[in-house]
Symmetry: C2
């Protein structure tokens, strides 16, 4: 059982809840915001700074890491945690969103997505199986099924086809995951192995790593090996051979990557019936957690909230729910109120690099000439390390002169703002005051 | 007396010494390395990180700060310390080096330097008086005379002319400094003042701020006002009027900038006789500290060390000595051995951004493919926060993918290396072991 989800408090009015998500690399307090660590780094932030901010889990982009430095190199390094020196939880996406949002580069077929690298134009292929394989090499705590995220607006036919494809891909991902992890052993290319030769399916059978504790199997039965104990790790050997080693192997600590959890992704655009079909099909596959994808892709805000509301209601209470790629601080509030436990978004970090800071009184565009002599901090009511020390006039100077420190400080502040927003929501949930908190924030001018 | 220099230990073999330099913003342990905070920021470093590294004094570039955000804006902000939230000592250069090294842009006359902004081509003029005025607006603890730094190689005639000019400029700088600071009051443009209207000399007379405690005056007598007490501050009023205010003013804390110290700069290329002439002329003007300029501009290393040796010997024992713009870790050692107390150089920070790290075993080029799988830290014998956490393979990935964090981490490491080099030298001096330390380092393969 790679993850365990505990609910500590549920709001009586909304569907909001506070919980603990136990993962191989530590416990996450939900609801949680996950900063985006694109290519193994949250742009402009040291890992020490992330820890000081109270970041509990990072999101890594499989697409970027696959292209550079390559998942095989990261596997050799003992996984992404070790590679980037982040010993805390990590979630990786499937890579599909990036592949498909670079539209001219990607072509979707039943089998998967053909795409060209945005770096050198080289041809690649991403399938549900390959997305699992790459993510297992990266070694995140939570990994995602490959899904198809369609644009808004889309015809009913397009959405329907997409939901069907996403469901079939989810089933294939689940099977690949069971095969690759259930095996309890696979080659990392670490040590004697040759780098870059890809993951190898040794074909020795599969194992259900979740049956006992969860009461719901992976759908593929163990072919004879012992069930993994709780908190089990699967061994990564240093053999480069396809044949099982005749000698028992004692892996070095760095060659052991704990078994991750696989999440399914509900699609269906803003069509509630399709969302229901998608959710039900995924529930039958029994994932450890469920994500809501395909929102915040251009649909009106009210439609997004409405879709999210009805979709979240379909997801089981005892599994974490993750709203992908969302969003503004207001979106986080609406998401939590609808029962979402996890969020990720580039907004706080990307906006920061463009001199846009989030504050308790709205956005502050730090390049604005009006701040040239403004000695106030970014947000006078903020307690972050940046607001305690630096003025808007200094931040403006840094952005106007193109100094790195502008992006560094604004990123720090924005992440603090997002994390603090989540912490306030969680506190209000634990104190049984979320509905009031929600009303108070909503009623702000 | 804005600064006080205490010598704690002197080596018996070399001319090296360890001391304490008391400045208005704190005490500096010498010998010291000053990271370059070009435009109000050490590129890629937060002020917190600089403090954590043990940085005691920063260098600010007058040229860059004059152009952006402008010295008047910084004066309004209460000086560079407040503007950039660095409450520790700062030294500013005169701006002359940047103006003259952008050669096609600058033209040197007896009066000063005409130059065009590298940003927008706008015309500006820098004179010895103007350099003092701008630096006083920036409010550093130590400010520098405008000097002329000629290229290597240069004819004897050129060097001779340049030493003459530098000497005359030093005298003018000294007089301007005495006038501007001795006045005890000048306008900041803060509050009621209009920004951008330039510094105003109220013409109310001058004051010797150093006579009593140093036993050596500024060369210009007080015309009637009371001498400043030790650690005195000169008041910056919020009046925008040229007429003295009829009412006594109580300045707010942020409108008081402590009086800085002015250093003279010895020039003369690698000509020892010219260096002697330059030094003697400056000594007659009696500066609070002396810099050696015009070295590390292309001359052979041995010639540089030799010139430095003979020049440093001419400078008074009881004043801090500053070797400008130097240099490699080896240069620091040779400089300290010749009696230098202060150094600045862009090398650790600029090289870091170009993926070049300084280590106990020489330079490490972090982009090099050989480090793609190297799990060692930048320098296995380094104790800095970067070497304790991150691998070369991760650093290489960051540089190859152009991630900011590469520059951030390498800058941190390089500054640690430089500061640590200085700390080791200082420790060896305090323990009476410098000559041995010097021999040991020099004898390394």
């Amino acid at each position: 059982m790679p993850i365990k989800f505990e609910i500590l408090a549920e709001d009586k009015v909304t569907r909001a809840r506070a919980g603990l998500l136990h993962t191989p690399h530590g416990v996450i307090e939900t609801p949680i915001f996950m900063p985006v660590g694109t290519g193994g780094t949250v742009k402009g932030m040291t890992q020490d700074a992330l820890e000081a901010l109270g970041v509990q889990i990072l999101l890594g982009n499989t697409y970027h890491l696959y292209l550079r430095p390559g998942h095989e190199l990261i596997r050799e390094a003992g996984g992404l945690h070790r590679f980037m020196s982040w010993p805390h939880p990590i979630l990786t996406d499937s890579g599909g969103f990036q592949v498909m949002s670079l539209k001219s580069l990607g072509r979707v077929t039943e089998d998967g997505v053909q795409f060209r690298s945005h770096l050198d134009g080289s041809a690649h292929f991403l399938s549900p199986e390959r997305a699992v394989e790459i993510q297992l090499a990266l070694g995140a705590d939570i990994i995602m099924c490959l899904d198809e995220c369609v644009e808004y607006p889309a015809s009913h036919e397009t959405l329907q086809r997409s939901v069907g494809l996403t469901t079939r891909w989810a089933k294939r991902a689940k099977e690949a995951f069971a095969r690759d992890t259930g095996l309890g052993i696979w080659d990392t290319g670490h040590g004697a192995g040759e780098p870059g030769q890809g993951n190898r399916d040794l074909g020795l059978g599969t194992r259900d790593s979740g049956t006992e504790s969860r009461g719901s199997g992976l759908g593929i039965r163990d072919l004879g090996s012992e069930p993994l104990p709780p908190n089990s790790e699967f061994q990564i050997t240093d053999s480069g051979s396809l044949a099982p080693s005749p000698e028992p192997r004692t892996p070095s600590p760095e060659s052991r990557i704990p078994c991750p959890a696989l999440f399914g992704i509900v699609q269906g655009g803003t069509d509630k019936e399709l969302r229901r079909q998608s959710a039900e099909a995924l529930l039958e596959l029994d994932f450890e957690g469920y994500a809501v994808g395909g929102l915040a892709v251009g649909e009106p805000k009210l439609e997004m909230d409405d879709t999210l509301q009805s979709t979240a209601e379909l997801l089981p209470r005892d599994r974490p729910r993750y709203l992908m790629g969302v969003g503004t601080p207001e979106d986080l509030l609406e998401g939590v109120a609808r029962g979402i436990d996890m969020f990720d978004c580039v907004m706080p970090t990307r906006n920061a690099r463009n001199a846009c800071a989030f504050t308790s009184e709205g956005k502050v565009i730090l390049k604005n000439a009006r701040y040239a002599r403004d000695e106030r901090p970014i947000d006078p009511s903020c307690t972050c390390a940046v607001c305690r020390r630096y003025s808007r006039r200094y931040l403006r100077h840094l952005f106007v002169t193109g100094e790195m420190l502008g992006a560094i400080l604004a990123t720090h502040h924005n992440l603090h703002f997002y994390l603090d927003t989540m912490r306030r929501m969680r506190q209000s949930l634990l104190f049984g005051e979320f509905a009031e908190f929600y009303r108070r924030v909503r009623s702000r001018p």
